[in-house]
């Protein structure tokens, strides 16, 4: 048998809605008038995926783990000059193309999780809608620009000995 509703609770409920109305009229609402005002999103909001191009080794892990196959990577090998005099030239991967198709992306963040070289980051930037759906395919220059909007990692709660990751700038 569930507890019976009591009258004081009903009156309290009326008070809550009335108080909320007064508060909204006095202090303004909890919502923002979005297109007119800038929206304050949570700092770790999953807005867009940013790419730190120098860190990418074209290892293809992100492209292969992506459930939607929305990451396109093309790269070629080249020989970089040796670090020391008389050394062997080093073989490196040059990134030719790194595109994310945000019309396919479902913002799962697996690519960000799986990247072993700290090249992919979440950014709260979310204002990148397009008229044509094909224009949602963004290349590495655009993805690199979004690195500017990536916020620093917040410190963990007290007592945690895990190292706070750094965002490469």
């Amino acid at each position: 048998m569930p507890p019976k509703p009591k009258v004081p609770g009903l009156i309290k409920g009326l008070g809550v809605t009335f108080g909320e109305m007064v508060k909204t009229l006095k202090d303004g609402p909890q919502t923002t008038r979005y297109p007119h005002e800038r929206e304050e999103v949570a700092p770790r909001a999953r807005g867009v995926i940013a790419l730190q191009e120098e860190n990418c080794t074209s290892c293809m892990l992100c492209a292969r783990e992506c459930p939607d196959w929305c990451i396109f990577i093309e790269a070629h090998k080249y020989l970089a000059p040796p670090r020391r005099e008389g050394g062997k030239p080093r073989q490196k991967n040059e990134l030719d193309r790194f595109d994310i198709d945000f019309s396919l992306c479902m913002y799962c963040g697996i690519c960000v999780e799986v990247c072993p070289f700290d090249a992919l980051f979440w950014s709260p930037e979310h204002e990148y809608s397009e008229i044509r759906i094909a224009d949602l395919l963004h290349d590495k220059t655009r993805l690199d620009q979004w690195m500017q909007t990536v916020p620093d990692f917040e410190p963990y709660e007290a007592g945690s000995d895990a190292k706070v990751k750094k965002v490469p700038r």
């Binding site: 409920g13 009326l14 809605t17 909204t24 609402p29 909890q30 008038r33």
Partner: protein, 345 residues
Amino acid sequence: MMHVLASFAPPYWMSTLIKVLVISAVVPTTALILGMVFLFKIMSWMQSRLGPQEAGPRGTLQLLADGVKFLQKEDIAPNGADRWVFKVAPLVVLMSTLLLYVALPASMHLVVANLDVGVFFVLAISSLSVIGVLMAGWSSASKYSLMGALRAAGQLIAYELPMVLAVIGVVIQAGTMSLNGIVLAQADGTIFGWGGIGFPYILTQFLGFFIFIAAVQAELTQPPFDMPVAESEIVSGYQVEYTGFRFLIFFLAEFATAFAFAGIAAVLFLGGWAVPWLPTSSDWYYVLGPAVLFAKVMLVAFIIFWVRFTYPRFREDQLQSLAWKVLIPLALVNIVVTAVLKVVL
């Protein structure tokens, strides 16, 4: 100007035409006002939002935009539907709303028909809407519609009774069933010989007012009594198959009925169109009467919608037991006490 209004006596056909035009303009307007002020603005504020902002100044034309949108929609009738009944049902519901306004006095003479049995007429007409609801439910050829209509019928019948019984207290106290007579009785009344504010019956019939508002809430199928149109289980009940302007008519009827009931509550319990400092025979009431009544209606409507926005939905059995086990006995006690005091005092 007041003199001109008072001496205006058009021939019968003209006064009838004016009355028809005024009522058919007033019904959608009141629905728009209530929808805009309460459904959009007050509800938003109670939920810490701003409500519509873009259509018109501060979003005031949003409901008009919605109305135009509804008119553009295709008028669909389901395949197995009883077409004729299906199409007429919303009009029957609207008809009961229109007839409610016939007896509602906006001043001594600003009333379509000054009936001697106004209270009786209003209560009888308001239960007509259940026929429209049942027609809509049966003819839609949909189980959701049928369930919704049956629930609506059960609920409206259950709450018709406390509503009638709640009003009887006022009728006993006023000694008349004419709505204008009740207004006059309140305006001329005195509280222990002091006539400063007349004698609004809410002071003695507080219980009746409470029961009346609760029953109105149920008649309008608004939360917490919105079992017939519960969107989470029977996807808005008897309205489920309606599109376009027929759905709009249901919406209009609901809100215009809310306004009419708020008006009747204002007349019965708050003194109607009269203000205490002006004698009821004054010609000023041609202009002041509607304004005063409108202000009181908005006050009552605020209570109705405030309750609507606060409480969650009743279960079917809770709904029925509230009507039969709480409201009706309370109303009966109210009648007995009122009658005894009327005779004794």
